[in-house]
Amino acid sequence: MNSAILAQVLVNGLLLGGLYAAIAAGFSLVWGVLNVVNMLHGSAVVLGAYAAFFGWQLGINPFLAALAIGPAIGLLGWVVQRFIVQRVIAAPVLITLVLTFALDLVLNNAMLAAFTADYRKMGSVTGLPPLMIGTVSIPADRLIAAVLGIVATFLVHLYLTRSRLGRAIVAVRMDQETARLMGVKVEHIYALTFGIGLALAGVAGCLIGAVFPISPLNSGGYLGVAFVACVLGGLGSVVGAIVGGLVLGVVESLGSMLIGAEYGVTVAAVLLILMLLWRPQGLLGRAGYD
C-alpha cells in the first residue's frame, strides 16, 4: 500500500470528517445540555439535504441555501422541543430515547412517503476542477463542504463562549438549578439549544447533499456518525465534535479500504464501544466533564 494511495485515503477521510463534524456538533450539544439523545437528528440531516436538493433544482447554490435551511430546521427543532420533548425532559434515559425514536419514525416515514426511497444526486455545484496536490486530488465541492462544516461548528463554539445566551447554555449544561438562580429561564435555553442542534443538522444536510447522493434511508447512518463522532470528541463539546468527526472520517475511509466498505458501520461501532470503555469523556473531554 504505497504512500500515494495512503495520502489520498487520508485526505478523503479528512474531507468526510469535516461533514461528520457538522453532523455530530448539534447532536453533542443537545445531548450535553438537555441530556437528551436526539434520535431525530439523522432525519433532520436528511431533511436539510432534500431542502438543498430542491433549492438546487431551482438554481440555488446549496452552500448559500444552508443559510436559510439551517435556521428553518432550527425553528422546527425549537417547536419540537418546546411542545413535545420538554414534557419528558426530566424523565429517565429510557423515556427520552424512545420518544425521540418515535419522532424519527414519524419524520422519516413522512419523507419516505413524500420523496420515495430512491437516491437523488445534485450535479457539480461549483463546477470548479479538483485541486491537485502532488498525486492527491481534492474535488472542489467536497473541500468547500468540509471547510464549511468545520466553520459552521466553530461559529457555534464562539457563540457558546462569547455571547450572553451562549454562556447561559453552558451554565445550564453544568448546573441547571444554579443557572436558574442566576435568572436564566431554563426552558427557553432548552428550546434554543435544541433549535441550534437541529439547525446544525440542517446545515450538515445541505453540505452532504452537495456532495453525496441522498435518500431518507441514510438517516440511520447519519445518526450512527453523530453517536460515534460525539463520543470520540467528548460529550457536549462542540469543538470536540470537530476532532471526533475528523478522526471518524479518517478511520472509516482507512477501514473501508482495508476491510471493505460493507463493514463500515461495524468499524465505527467497534471504535465507539472501545472509546466508551476507555475514555467516555472523549479525546478532548476532561474526566467528569459531562
Partner: protein, 314 residues
C-alpha cells in the same frame, strides 16, 4: 421452611398455567389464522418484554440490545437447521450463541451508565446485522434463509409455534418472578437504586449485572429461534430490526417497568393499539406507529402497575 415453600408455589403455578394454555389454545383457535397470529405475537412480546425487564427494569440499565440477540438466535437456529440439525438443536444453539456473546459483551458495556450503555447496546444490533449480511456463504447474506420446515402445513406450523412461544413466555415470567424474590433480584434492585452504595454493601455488581444480561439475552435468542420457525423465512433487515428492541420496552413501560407482571399487561395493551393502528393506516404504517409510541410515552411514563418496586422485596 414455610417461606421457602411458599416462594416456589407461584412460579410453578405460572408454568402449569402456561402449559395448559400452550396445549389448549392452539386447539381452541385451530384454524383461525388471524387469532393464532395475534396470540403468538402476544406470547412473543411477553417473552421479550419480560426478558428485557430483568436488565431494564430490575437493574435499571436501559438496554436496546434485544433485537441483536433476537436476530442472533433466529440465525443460529436457521443455520443449524439448514445443515440438517433438528429444530430442538436449533433452539439450543440459539440460546448458547446468545449467552456466549452476551456474557463477555455484557460484562464490558455494563460498566457504562445511562445513555452511554443504551447507545453501546444499540450499536450491537447494527454490528450483528452487518456481520450477518456480510457472512453470506453461511447466512445467505441479504437474501436471507428459508427454514427447512417451512414447507409443511401452515396451520400446523402456526399451532406448534404458538405452543412453543406460550411455554417460553410462561418460563420467562416465572423465571423473572423467582429472580425478583431471590438474592439476585435483591442485589439487582440495590444496584438500580444506588450502585455505589451497592458496591460498598459487598454486592458484586459487575457479576450480578452480567448474569441478568446473559439470562435475558439467552431467552431473547430462543425467542428469535421460535420466530424463525414460525415465519419460515428470515433476513437481516427483519430479525435485526430495531423495533424488536423498542416494542418490548414500550410494553414494559405501559405495564410498569421493574414489576414482574407489568410486561405481561403492557404487552397486551400495546398489541391492541398496534393492531388497531395497523388495521386502517396501512400506507403510513410505520409513521403511524411512531405517533402511537410517542403518545404512549408522553401519556404514561409511569406505567399501569406501580412502575418502580415499592417497599421491600417480599
Amino acid at each position: 421452611m414455610h417461606a421457602r415453600l411458599q416462594g416456589w408455589v407461584l412460579p410453578v403455578a405460572i408454568l402449569v398455567i402456561g402449559a395448559i394454555v400452550a396445549y389448549g389454545l392452539p386447539i381452541a383457535l385451530s384454524n383461525q389464522t388471524y387469532l393464532l397470529r395475534l396470540a403468538t405475537s402476544l406470547a412473543l412480546l411477553v417473552t421479550l418484554a419480560s426478558a428485557w425487564n430483568l436488565v431494564g427494569g430490575f437493574t435499571g440499565y436501559p438496554s436496546f440490545a434485544t433485537a441483536a440477540f433476537f436476530g442472533l438466535g433466529a440465525y443460529a437456529s436457521a443455520v443449524m437447521q439448514q445443515f440438517g440439525w433438528s429444530a430442538l438443536t436449533g433452539y439450543a444453539t440459539a440460546a448458547i450463541c446468545a449467552a456466549l456473546l452476551s456474557a463477555p459483551f455484557g460484562f464490558a458495556i455494563l460498566r457504562l451508565k445511562g445513555h452511554y450503555f443504551a447507545i453501546a447496546s444499540l450499536m450491537l444490533v447494527s454490528i450483528l446485522k452487518e456481520v450477518t449480511t456480510g457472512w453470506s456463504n453461511v447466512t445467505g447474506g441479504g437474501m436471507g434463509i428459508n427454514l427447512p420446515g417451512a414447507g409443511g402445513d401452515p396451520l400446523a406450523i402456526a399451532r406448534i409455534s404458538l405452543e412453543i412461544l406460550v411455554m417460553l413466555a410462561a418460563f420467562s415470567v416465572a423465571l423473572s418472578l423467582v429472580i425478583s424474590r431471590g438474592w439476585l433480584g435483591f442485589g439487582l434492585s440495590c444496584i438500580r437504586m444506588n450502585e455505589t452504595a451497592a458496591l460498598s454493601a459487598g454486592i458484586d455488581a459487575p457479576r450480578l449485572k452480567t448474569i441478568a444480561f446473559t439470562i435475558s439475552s439467552a431467552i431473547c435468542g430462543v425467542a428469535g429461534a421460535a420466530y424463525a420457525g414460525w415465519i419460515g423465512y428470515i433476513d437481516p433487515s427483519d430479525v435485526y430490526d430495531v423495533m424488536w428492541s423498542v416494542r418490548p420496552i414500550i410494553a414494559a413501560l405501559i405495564g410498569g417497568v421493574g414489576t414482574v407482571f407489568g410486561p405481561v399487561v403492557g404487552s397486551l395493551i400495546y398489541l391492541v393499539f398496534e393492531e388497531l393502528m395497523w388495521r386502517n393506516l396501512l400506507t403510513f404504517g410505520t409513521g403511524a406507529l411512531g405517533v402511537l409510541i410517542a403518545i404512549l410515552v408522553l401519556v404514561m411514563p409511569g406505567g399501569v402497575l406501580p412502575s418502580l418496586r415499592k417497599g421491600k422485596v417480599s
